[in-house]
Symmetry: C2
Subunit: 388 residues, 2 copies
């Protein structure tokens, strides 16, 4: 565990079938004016909206709504939500949806009592909130982002062609999250698989950093092995509750700060993917899938020992008589096979990107320094070209 760190994650999780029944008890802890936030309306078709509305009514809450939060929530939509929240004198925000709805609700929570423009303050200047923060609770309907137990929030500004994430502190984390795996079962397979790759990549982003052999590396390997088993079962039968529940639980622990303790962390796949997302508005997990292999194959020589270990400990590649380089290659080949099994998008062309966009996407890519290779802009361009 190199370096010093703190760990504090106060989010309370209610997990399992009908976990939404816990909502009633939790709502007692907050004021009467509730802002209900949701996405494109699927919760109105599958009964979740009705069930939650009944609970809110039973608890005597005064409810305003922000509907139509899009998969990549925009800075314009954020402004709209903040206005509704202010007018409603919101005491509590209830996010019902996937990572986008949770991310968006956290962005609203730090903006209701803030006089500055939230996009400028939090997503351009990366300032921390200095105002009162409205408490948030989540009812999760999609597994992937981990937003249900962290302080992260990603907002897209189409005008600036930027998609930027801010990881807020524990005071912005949801007070509670309700995780019912059954709620994820109505999701289209494309979205399920995009979520699965988002989880895998969250773990990789933290795992592929640092030279030590610390506990976080071992926990990460366990989470990846679990995900490989449960994702294969879920792709075969999306109604497999056991598989869907393991995927949901793995998603939460893949990005709630646990496995980054003692690590420098990389996050370049997310930076590349988010830049692609800002240009194409494609599904987040698919943008990550489309750039991952060109990126990892490029940085592999700089973290050879870790990539060799990844092959053996995560993918079960036999080490006998093989060099680290051979093992490392076979590990990424095994990941590629699994990605194809999952039906993931393997290049950015399929997401609507083209050669003319490469320079713009490279401009929108924030270059970080925690991984095995510090990229320069020309390397970003090369990786994006290899992803076409």
């Amino acid at each position: 565990m190199l370096g010093n760190f703190t760990y504090h994650n106060p989010t309370k999780l209610y997990f399992g079938k009908d976990a939404v029944d816990s909502l009633k008890g939790e709502l007692k802890n907050y004021g009467d004016n509730v802002l209900l936030v949701y996405g494109g309306g699927s919760i109105k078709k599958n009964g979740i909206y009705d069930r939650i509305s009944a609970i809110l009514k039973e608890c005597g809450k005064n409810v305003a709504e922000v509907a139509g939060v899009m998969p990549n929530p925009t800075s314009d939509k954020l402004k709209e939500g903040v206005k509704i929240a202010k007018d409603h004198k919101t005491d509590f925000i209830l996010a019902v949806g996937g990572g986008s709805v949770c991310d968006y609700s956290k962005a609203v929570s730090v903006s209701v009592h803030c006089d500055d423009d939230p996009w400028d303050k939090y997503f351009v200047s990366f300032e921390e909130p200095s105002c009162e923060i409205v408490p948030v609770g989540c009812v999760l309907t999609m597994a992937g982002t981990g937003s249900e137990m962290n302080g992260g929030s990603v907002i897209t500004n189409h005008e600036a062609k930027l998609k930027i994430g801010h990881v807020f502190g524990d005071e912005v984390m949801p007070k509670f999250s309700i995780l019912d795996p059954v709620y994820t079962m109505t999701l289209p397979k494309y979205q399920m698989c995009a979520g699965i790759y988002d989880i895998m990549n969250h773990i990789c982003e933290q795992y592929f950093s640092g030279e030590d052999d610390n506990t976080s590396d071992h926990i990460s390997e366990g989470l990846m092995r679990s995900l490989i088993v449960s994702s294969r079962a879920a792709v075969k039968d999306p109604q497999d509750y056991e598989a869907r529940s393991n995927i949901m639980w793995t998603a939460t622990w893949a990005l709630n700060t646990l496995i980054s303790r003692g690590k420098t962390t990389d996050w370049m796949v997310h930076m590349l993917g988010q830049a692609v997302g800002a240009y194409t508005d494609a599904t987040h997990g698919m943008t990550l899938a489309a750039v991952s292999l060109p990126y990892y194959r490029y940085i592999m020589p700089y973290g050879l020992k870790k990539f060799a270990r990844f092959a053996v400990n995560v993918w079960g590649v036999s080490a006998q008589g093989k060099s680290d380089e051979q093992l490392a290659r076979e590990g990424l080949d095994a990941m590629e096979s699994w990605m194809k099994e999952m039906g993931l998008v393997m290049n950015i062309s399929e997401l609507g990107a083209n050669a003319d966009m490469i320079e713009g996407i490279a401009d929108a890519t924030l270059i970080l320094s925690g991984g095995y290779k510090q990229l320069d802009r020309s390397e970003v361009v090369d990786i994006l070209k290899a992803s076409l």
Copy 2:
């Protein structure tokens, strides 16, 4: 993830060299009357007492002390501490020591404002606290019990010859814990290794239950693999900071409720070991080591698939051409070799138990039902005889 569950662990952790510097900031959140709790006085020799006293003084705290908390804290000592805490009008309890001191401090915290006898209420009748709970913070000096991030408390009653643990809810968990691996380095090797086996057994108690292949099993395997690597390094060189820090972090996550989510959990090795402890006052981790192999070899046929998986995924036993039974046996043999490498006590005779005590120890053994085999009393006797 079979079954429904909640997860909530609000303890804030400060990890790393000089993490005790965080104490000053934390103490501001609590009242002036601090009860300082510690053990046999080693903290006076290694400078920890002086450093913490200086911080308490700087913060203007009014300090009373409970010194001499023994490795197996007694119900008599608990009464003594409760009286001191009451007289001092204690606002905050600061535990400085290992698991015993943390366990003891939590027992005091739920007893200061309680009119009943705490032994009867919490450790015989297993009631939950209905009174005000005094907040507890920990400065950990030994890795093993996980008490720094859970609600557990084990108290021994010598008159009744009982050693009983109560796992309290999240309101009893420490508000914060300070984990500086350097603080564990002055510990004698015997104590370090007892702590290492306590960690391993905490994981085994949760892992060896249930037939499903859930995320908790995979995280557990990661934690065990990490512990095997770091324990071997620490036994070779107890001053290896990297190894000691990984052991400390693994200990916390081995018993903070994470890896029990979705599991029935076993805990029979602890029940057996605690009964041995009540009769011999031996070091906790060594009592577990002394009964483990006879217990696991006895229940192995009832959980064969899991023991076979344990061999392959934890100990790296090659599965090729082997039956589950052969694999399971080889896994436990690998664990036995590792235990001998650690210099653990492999039988209860060495801890002071003898054949005449077997019936009494069996009487003191609480028989639980979450593992692969529901034992009856005669089986408990057989396992204890095999442990002699």
